[in-house]
């Protein structure tokens, strides 16, 4: 039990939820799937704001985008027919590596991004697919890149309401290394490329659990442009990641170990992409 929790709110609107947070930011927390909040064991938390009552758990399609409600669970997302139609097996397979079945039934898409967790596989996959967020904050609703959301000051606590996905001819692959099948990643890596006439027209390269939160490696991305998509390409990607890897050490792994894992994972992801495009 979180012993200091004295109030549990079920707001009916996004605005109400945000106001509740603003009333006492220091002692309040948004609850989405609950897998993070319930495990925080923090005596600081006195007010829980349950976002499930906002019914932000649907997946809808506009003319050129997929709009995913932030409280959609990871498992519902990976199995959603619209997502599978637009992204093939990418999210279905990548998100099968997120936690256990039980955790995926609880964890939500928005809740996986909001706490800015270094090891979030969800964040890595959404970054590498070029997804963006709709948040509700001091300026009302706002569209924002995930990387910009990660850069917000810690004191700002906007509410993520939706995740916006596009595909636009990109191919994506994800690889993860963890100590057990449902443990958090020691390192994860995502790779997306947009091919054109057998060459890479554009690329996205993301590493997470470095242990900092997932980030794009833009120097690798620009170096990949115009590379021919052939059997040599994966080993070039491996070398590029080796040269540009930025990370650190913690109790899970050293910087050197992570760097080595990252280049292996990037190479495997590149090999997957080559197989998809050929």
């Amino acid at each position: 039990m979180l012993t200091n929790v004295s109030e549990y709110f079920r707001p009916q609107t996004v605005e109400e939820a945000y106001e509740l947070m603003q009333n006492d930011k220091e002692h309040s927390i948004f609850l989405s799937g609950g897998t993070i909040v319930a495990l925080m064991k923090s005596s600081r938390i006195e007010k829980v704001i349950d976002l499930k009552s906002l019914r932000l758990d649907t997946v809808s399609v506009t003319e050129d985008e997929i709009v995913v409600g932030a409280t959609t669970t990871v498992e519902s997302f990976r199995k959603d027919p619209v997502i599978r139609k637009k992204f093939g097996e990418f999210f279905y397979e990548a998100f099968s590596l997120v936690g256990s079945w039980q955790i995926r039934n609880m964890a939500t898409i928005g809740g996986s991004i909001a706490p800015k967790l270094g090891w979030s596989d969800v964040s890595t996959c959404l970054l590498v697919t070029g997804s963006s967020l709709i948040i509700y904050g001091v300026d009302g609703y706002q569209r924002m890149l995930i990387s910009d959301y990660f850069s917000l000051p810690a004191g700002e606590k906007p509410l993520i309401t939706h995740v916006i996905l596009k595909r636009d001819g990109w191919f994506s692959a994800f690889e993860k290394f963890s100590k057990t099948t449902f443990d958090v990643a020691t390192v994860n890596a995502g790779l997306s490329i947009r091919p054109e006439q057998g060459r890479i027209k554009a690329a996205r390269v993301v590493c997470g659990s470095r242990p900092q939160y997932p980030a794009r490696f833009e120097s690798v991305e620009s170096a990949m442009v115009d590379l021919e998509i052939n059997e040599v390409m994966p080993s070039i990607v491996r070398s590029l990641v080796y040269e540009s890897f930025v990370g650190g050490s913690n109790m899970t792994a050293s910087f050197e170990y992570r760097k080595h894992l990252a280049l292996v994972l990037a190479q495997r992801a590149a090999e997957k992409l080559k197989g998809m495009i050929e």
């Binding site: 004295s6 549990y8 609950g34 909040v37 495990l39 829980v48 256990s100 079945w101 039934n105 099948t181």
Partner: protein, 157 residues
């Protein structure tokens, strides 16, 4: 605060603390098959079905299940007649100390409702969040496979 939810079809209305977990509340009202172990969403022994989907009761706020449906292993048997998954676990020797078994049964039940004819890989993936320190999992996987056949009516009970 006051909440109401059903457990195995039976309605419960009760007072809870706002910070209480579902695991604590279920055990308090008598559903002792729901096991407390890691308390950190790691072992799966506290698994129950929430609206038909397996979740971890050790990290679910009780307040969040207000108005929802919970299923535990207490609701699986039909009087003295065990559920096919329970029967198969006995037949395959899939339980030793038995501590993890209620959760394995519930995860298996959720899997078979969603996928009545799972492959060995499907079963392994579904059960990968249910830790068992006794059996090495092979017998549990066989039991789920066997129960699936029984539930499809392909083999004798």
């Amino acid at each position: 605060m006051r909440i109401a939810f059903t457990v195995n079809g039976r309605l419960h209305g009760l007072e809870i603390e706002p910070g209480e977990y579902l695991l604590e509340v279920l055990r308090r009202i008598g559903y002792k098959s729901v096991r407390r172990s890691c308390g950190s969403a790691s072992c799966g022994t506290c698994t129950v079905l929430l609206n038909g989907k397996p979740i971890l009761s050790c990290s679910t706020f009780a307040a969040s299940v207000d108005g929802q449906n919970i299923e535990t292993v207490e609701g699986m048997a039909d009087g003295d007649k065990l559920h096919p998954i329970q029967e198969a676990i006995l037949e395959e020797g899939a339980a030793q100390c038995g501590y993890c078994i209620p959760a394995v049964v519930m995860t298996g039940e959720a899997l078979l409702r969603e996928n009545p004819d799972p492959t060995d890989e499907d079963i392994r993936l579904a059960l990968n969040g249910n830790l068992c320190r006794c059996t090495g999992y092979e017998a549990q996987n066989r039991a789920i496979k066997k129960a699936a056949g029984v539930m499809r009516g392909e083999t004798d009970e």
